[in-house]
Subunit: 232 residues, 2 copies
DNA sequence: GTCTATAGCCTGATAGAC
DNA sequence: GTCTATCAGGCTATAGAC
């Protein structure tokens, strides 16, 4: 179990009243180094596989000796944890933004998951770390995992909206969550394994996703309604 | 690239006329050792991850010293290749058997894929090696890969049957292959990542598979027919 | 076919000088 | 915060005795 809380070091502290400059030079420089370590780590995972990440390779690419990395991260597993947490936070932000710009209910759910797919393919090594769990010895810390719970709640809320609006018939929200997870993980798994250079929307698999989402009402048929807004 | 042909050593040669005994003791003993090495290798991958396979760990569990393993396999990658090939052959056999016992067309396709899912969960480490490609440095040899092509051809034939029988409307066979691959890989990915101890048919994901297969005619609607056999 | 011994590489992580 | 030096251990693979 990883207990070191890494995120506190990354952002600017909002409870810090004193300094005139938001970050002094040393702190800013440290943050930049942390950013670069994580950027390099994602590159290594993309090129050589998520499991191939090593302190030594990061140090080589950063142009320092391996012990220097330990000034920023206590261990290799802490680097995995930071990648996991940053990935979850960014993924949540992207999905939330896409959902906010779509109609509530099924359109929002679809838009959120398409944004998720786009992000996952643009960050596929981190996405694999987050959702496929290829490193058995790594267990994310509760802090790193938290955004993932929030992401599922976003999806559940959209599904509840869809049912309330009559876009879907009465359904167990959890079942629908599992169904759409199969869709998104299916297209992403196939895209990552078979079309490693294509982004979302291209190739033989990810274009299927909107069609799959359109099938959901066939599994949970909406009840016929008198006062559906001016269509049929 | 792996060029050593391993399968020739595994099976009994059919072009070998001379010996009265089908296999002499030495050859049989050798075959048993090879079988045990591969069985142990699959166990290691299941417990510690596909990438964690090592000659040293196999030797420890077999109760020999690492150099002894090299009398049976030229390298670790050759062990991956043998696992890949045996897995593909067995998977093909299982799928073919299930399809032969079902009605042609969509029922055969569904039965074959359900048998595939069952096999993949019962042999999940080898299935991951075969279909998720988690070891970037490993590329299967053409001999090992061949059964996979045959497996896809089985699926294509069943889809063509389904179209010919009017179970599906006119569709590109390749598109349907990609669609069902998304379904099966989706439920398997989620099952493997989230329900590591459940077999096919249990849990929150694999029971969705038949429902997903039943949706295919909604994507490729069959044309209305006069002479459909005594139903409707 | 088994073993011991070993070469030669890699790794994560720490101690301590500067 | 950087370095050198080092520990302790892992790994693949080979050489050669038995």
């Amino acid at each position: 179990m990883i207990t070191q809380v890494i995120v506190a070091e990354h952002g600017t502290s909002t409870t810090d009243p004193a300094p005139a400059r938001p970050l002094d030079r040393r702190a800013r420089r440290r943050r930049e180094t942390i950013d670069e370590i994580l950027r390099i780590a994602a590159d290594v995972m993309t090129q050589d596989g998520v499991n191939a990440l090593s302190m030594a390779e990061i140090a080589r690419r950063l142009g320092v000796q391996p012990p220097s990395i330990y000034k920023y991260f206590d261990s290799l597993l802490h680097i995995y944890d930071a990648l996991f947490q940053r990935g979850q936070l960014e993924h949540l932000r992207v999905m939330r933004g896409a959902m906010a710009n779509a109609q509530p209910g099924l359109p929002a759910l679809t838009a959120g998951l398409e944004a998720s797919g786009q992000w996952c393919l643009a960050n596929r090594s981190v996405a694999q770390l987050m959702f496929w769990r290829p490193v058995p010895s790594f267990e994310p810390s509760p802090e790193a995992f938290a955004p993932s719970i929030e992401m599922v709640n976003l999806q559940k809320a959209a599904i509840a909206d869809a049912i309330a609006a009559g876009q879907l018939g009465p359904a167990e929200v959890d079942q629908v969550v599992h169904l759409v997870s199969v869709f998104i993980v299916g297209v992403l798994s196939q895209a990552i394994a078979n079309e490693p250079d294509l982004e979302w929307g291209y190739g033989r698999f990810t274009p299927l996703f909107p069609q799959l989402m359109a099938l959901i009402p066939a599994l949970y048929p909406p009840p016929p309604r008198q006062n559906r807004p001016h269509r049929r």
